[in-house]
């Protein structure tokens, strides 16, 4: 078995300890935000669980769970302004939800329907990006467009620890540093790239150190502490918006799930490691903090869970009842206008599937 976990997961910068106590004080003014974060994390966790079970019962496509990584997604989403542009990879349901992508749209996409990427809100956000790290260059392009047009907007790009090894990421980081682009890179370092553990991904002590060779600040935060993530990203976003250039944030977390529903992590990692990692997971520590502060209790928990489940079920029902696109959908958005040359193929398709 490979091993990924080396240090205690939360040795890097954080506010909220694994047991819900505070390492650094958090201003009371921020408590409403913490509450919102908690609610959002619960929503995504409940929704995520449903997605996995939909897949297990054959009504869904391959799905990458965000279990254990909710704090990163929610922290990032909370740190962005509406007019900013989010450039996700494929494990960004949490941030997308906060950006305004509906649970229905998320279901449609992972259910295998392109309409799931036609976001009705956040229409400038980029869709899920499957080819690893390529989204980083797109984010650099988005940020360049802000710079060219002198707009005070920021592009936020996320990627995995595995993605940090791919040229696209490093080329983008280098460009961002060179052009002082208004953008923030967030690495979701969940310790695994499918079966490849963090130490086989890079000899660098900290992935955040890749920022040094690109001329920008790089920072590690505890990715299981939503407030730490939020604060780091917010500071970086504000800085970028103020024209002070890009930053890289490495949020350290752990993938508590299989890579996707097509993966079986027990083939390559030990159960003990997984069990250990659960001690550091992000939802429970935030609940403990909120309960300690008297901001949350058991009955609120139950009511909110029910609410999240209802949201989920409603979206799932809508999804399951959505008719597939017609066969010719594959031609409909291929070009702005279908070239006449493709009309023959279009006709063949219709004849074959007589739509």
């Amino acid at each position: 078995m490979y091993q990924a976990l080396k240090l205690p997961l939360d040795q890097c910068h954080r506010f909220i300890n694994a047991d819900g106590t505070l390492k650094h004080t958090i201003d009371e003014q921020e408590f409403p935000l913490l509450l919102e974060c908690y609610k959002a994390m619960m929503q995504i966790r409940i929704f995520d669980k449903k997605c996995v079970s939909l897949q297990r019962t054959g009504r869904f496509g391959t799905y990458p769970s965000v279990l254990g990584m909710e704090a990163i997604g929610i922290g990032v989403g909370k740190a962005m302004e509406e007019e900013d542009v989010f450039v996700p990879y494929y494990r960004d349901q949490a941030t997308q939800m906060l950006r305004g992508v509906s649970l229905y749209e998320i279901l449609m996409y992972w259910g295998g329907d392109e309409r799931g990427a036609d976001y009705q809100n956040c229409r400038q956000d980029l869709p899920n990006c499957v080819p690893i790290a390529t989204q980083c260059t797109h984010a650099a392009g988005v940020a360049s467009s802000f710079k060219i047009r002198k707009e005070k907007r920021v592009a936020v790009c996320s990627l995995g620890d595995g993605a940090s090894s791919k040229g696209d990421f490093m080329e983008s980081l280098n460009l961002a540093g060179t052009w002082k682009l208004p953008m923030v890179f967030v690495i979701n370092n969940n310790q695994w790239a499918i079966s490849v553990p963090r130490h086989l991904q890079s000899g660098a002590e900290r992935l955040a150190d890749k920022a040094i060779g690109a001329g920008m600040p790089g920072e590690q935060v505890d990715g299981n502490d939503v407030y730490a993530v939020y604060r780091a990203v917010k500071r970086a976003v504000d800085r970028a918006r103020a024209g002070k250039g890009p930053a890289l944030i490495e949020a350290i977390s752990y993938r508590l799930c299989d890579h996707t529903t097509a993966d079986d992590a027990s083939r390559y990692r030990a159960n003990e490691e997984l069990e250990k990692a659960w001690e550091f997971e992000p939802v429970k520590r935030l609940r403990a903090l909120l309960e300690n502060k008297g901001l949350w209790n058991e009955s609120q928990e139950l009511a909110w869970a029910e609410h999240c489940q209802a949201n989920t079920d409603k979206a799932v029902e809508l999804f399951l009842n959505t008719e597939a696109q017609p066969p010719h959908a594959m031609f409909d958005h291929l070009y702005a206008e279908l070239p006449t040359q493709l009309e023959e193929q279009y006709a063949t398709l219709l004849a074959r599937h007589h739509a």
Partner: protein, 340 residues
């Protein structure tokens, strides 16, 4: 069509009911066992044994210096294979899906394919680039491409595609033995759906040669990869209509064994080419063009291509609309036969 098993060599094992994946795995085991210079590298090929399990057990058997999990970077994987091969290793580099082969393109086209020519034979690149390809398994975007035509156009390499467990075993062994780079594309739709017995005797099957899987006299059906299954099915359906179809499996896409195809079409006068890749500028075009040049006046009907569309492969829900089906091949064959 399963030909009877060859006579058993000494040391040969018969492996019963092997899937194409198991055949690939067996070929890798055998090649690595026979030659210390054969090494594997790629994403998740080690402990995990590959996301499809094609390399399962190999790291355990041969150690992590010969079966290497790389960082996540396809350009790197291909380039490292190039460097290794110039020093006499025989790397088998896995690209996790053909949809992710693009970052490796430069190293395949500009280096692996050219090193021998560039150095007048001083250095060479005996690499096998393995990649699962093709649609029909309800995978996410970029996991279903069939872009063999892009590589077939490149001078200096070979493109090989098996269509059965037995051919996977034999062709992969020959690809690894080949002194030149081979892109070995594994049709993942039939990774587990076909089974046959394999003689694990280390014997390769010939490269650069088409396989005639069924003889026939009325029409020639040409295909490769997963679609060979539908093509054979189509041939059997046609038989029920009293039509005798010859079925050719390309096996090696580049260089193309024109002679076998040409001889068949000279005989039958009719040809249907079936492939899953986009229609235009695909491998089918070269076959048809070659026939239009060399068999023009033997053709008794236009050459038909049954292919995917010039579209992006739809996400899983509508994927089936894209895929050519047995019936499409049957219809095209009948139209060709009824042409006047």
């Amino acid at each position: 069509m399963n030909a009877p098993l060859k006579e058993l060599q000494p040391n040969a094992k018969v492996l019963k009911d092997q899937t194409l994946l198991e055949a690939v795995n067996a070929a890798l085991f055998t090649a690595m066992g026979n030659d210390d210079d054969v090494v594997l590298l790629g994403e998740d090929v080690g402990m995990n044994g590959g996301v499809f399990r094609a390399t399962a057990g190999l790291q355990e058997a041969f150690g992590n210096h010969r079966v290497m999990d790389t960082p996540l970077a396809e350009a790197l994987i291909a380039g490292v294979a190039v460097g290794m091969s110039t020093q006499g290793l025989k790397p088998v580099a896995e690209l996790q899906f053909m949809g992710f082969v693009f970052p490796a393109f430069e190293h395949i086209a500009c280096h692996a394919a050219r090193m021998r020519n560039r150095t007048r034979g001083r250095l060479s690149c005996p690499i096998v680039f393995r990649a699962p390809f093709g649609g029909g398994i309800h995978a996410p975007e970029h996991h279903s491409e069939s872009t063999e035509a892009l590589f077939a156009h490149l001078p200096g390499i070979r493109v090989v595609i098996p269509s059965s467990p037995r051919r996977a075993y034999g062709l992969l062994l020959s690809a690894i033995e080949s002194p030149d780079p081979v892109l070995f594309l594994e049709p993942k739709r039939i990774y587990r759906s076909l089974k046959s017995d394999i003689i694990d005797d280390g014997q390769g099957l010939p490269l650069d040669t088409c396989f005639t899987l069924k003889e026939g006299s009325d029409i020639t059906l040409v295909s490769w990869g997963a679609l060979v299954t539908e093509t054979l099915d189509a041939a059997h359906e046609l038989e029920a209509h009293g039509i005798s179809a010859e079925v050719i499996d390309l096996g090696t896409i580049k260089p193309l064994d024109e002679a076998t195809i040409l001889a068949s079409v000279m005989k039958t006068g009719r040809c249907v080419i079936a492939h899953e890749a986009c229609h235009s500028f695909g491998v089918g075009a070269e076959i048809a063009a070659m026939l239009a040049e060399k068999a023009l006046f033997n053709l008794r009907a236009p050459i038909a291509r049954v292919t995917g569309y010039d579209t992006i492969m739809p996400l899983p829900t509508n994927e089936h609309y894209y895929m050519p089906r047995t019936n499409d091949i049957v219809e095209a064959a009948i139209n060709t036969l009824q042409y006047e």
